[in-house]
């Protein structure tokens, strides 16, 4: 069920990127697409009746753990997404300084 939701989020983000004409909305669509992807990645590591993969001296043995590797992948991917979004917003501010608008249609009129 949650994997379907993740793929639907991914498709929403892609639809937004293909159709929006405002720079800030394009950045938001990119973020929605990435969030859908991250939820999908975490969902492939789930095990029914599994617990968080933390082993301490007070935990019992023989426990069923969930898969820790997709969580590590998503940790890295989220940080990379933050870096890309920050750079995209900096470009948006630079575009606004040059054209005084965020809308692609108005920019094409100015050229």
């Amino acid at each position: 069920m949650i994997q379907y939701a993740a793929i639907i989020l991914f498709v929403f983000g892609l639809y937004g990127l293909l159709t929006q004409r405002n720079i800030i909305k394009m950045i938001i669509s990119l973020n929605i697409m990435e969030i859908g992807l991250f939820i999908f990645i975490i969902s492939i590591g789930f095990v029914y009746d599994g617990v968080a993969p933390i082993i301490s001296s007070v935990s019992e043995t023989g426990l069923l753990f969930v898969d820790p590797l997709p969580q590590a992948l998503v940790l890295t991917a989220i940080v990379i997404g933050v870096g890309t979004t920050a750079l995209a917003l900096a470009f948006a501010k630079s575009i606004h300084n040059k054209y005084q608008t965020f809308s692609l249609d108005e920019m094409e009129e100015q050229l």
Partner: protein
């Protein structure tokens, strides 16, 4: 018209993905994954856990088994912060003029909250190998504390030069620890400090040290980005 084509392409992609994954024999059902089929089975094996020394297996993967990926991730943030400083590189900068003017209660109250947030973030960074968390959430919390100060006081500017120095030094130390592993042991990023016992604060070799460096680096980088966005050039 363009919206219709976009809608069709996206829907087609979504349907294709769902159908392929549902009918694929090797793709496991949601929740019924056998960990021992995957590499993760080896990570959770008790002997390997004792060898790496970290109780939090995700931390063991992020800093231990896949430490090279973490180095790359820290580099992504570094190059983003560098690029934003490059795009906005200007003459002397002053704070952006906003319409909202904060009042005295906000300015004083935020300084108290700043201290609390800072202590929490340091706790999360230090205990990265025992509880969930680690360097990345802790570093972002440091940056959010600084953002709070920026928002609550419209004349506040943090010490940007100090942050840049901290960023460069923390990054260099990370790579130097890796190179020390190459020189002292035989592999890059190999653990050359005694591991200690599972569950103690001072254990897990180089993992707490690297997480500390990562936390400081992430905090100073994102604070630098916040400063770049909230300032503008002197000549209006």
């Amino acid at each position: 018209m363009k919206n219709l084509i976009g809608l069709l392409v996206s829907l087609l992609l979504g349907v294709l993905i769902i159908l392929t994954l549902a009918s694929s024999p090797s793709f496991p059902e949601f929740g019924s994954v056998d960990i021992n089929d995957r590499v993760a089975g080896e990570y959770l094996d008790n002997d390997n856990v004792e060898e790496v020394g970290s109780g939090n297996i995700v931390t063991a993967i992020v800093v231990g088994y896949r430490g090279f990926d973490t180095l790359g991730e820290v580099t992504v943030l570094f190059i983003s912060a560098l690029g934003i400083a490059l795009i906005f590189s200007d003459k002397k900068q002053k704070r952006l003029d906003l319409k909202f003017k904060p009042n005295f209660m906000l300015k004083t109250g935020s300084r108290i909250v700043f201290g609390i947030i800072l202590i929490t973030s340091l706790y999360i960074i230090f205990h990265g190998h025992l509880t969930p968390g680690g360097g990345f959430p802790g570093g972002v919390m440091i940056a959010s504390a600084i953002l709070l100060l920026y928002l609550a006081d419209d004349k506040f500017r943090s010490n940007i030069k100090g942050f840049k120095v901290l960023e460069g030094v923390a990054g260099s130390l990370f790579v130097i620890i890796g190179l020390l592993g190459l020189v002292i042991g035989t592999y890059f990023l190999e653990n050359f400090i005694p591991v200690g016992s599972l569950g103690e604060l001072l254990s897990a070799g180089i993992i707490p040290i690297i997480y500390m460096l990562i936390g400081l680096k992430v905090g100073s980088e994102i604070s630098g980005i916040v400063d770049n966005f909230l300032t503008e050039g002197e000549s209006a």
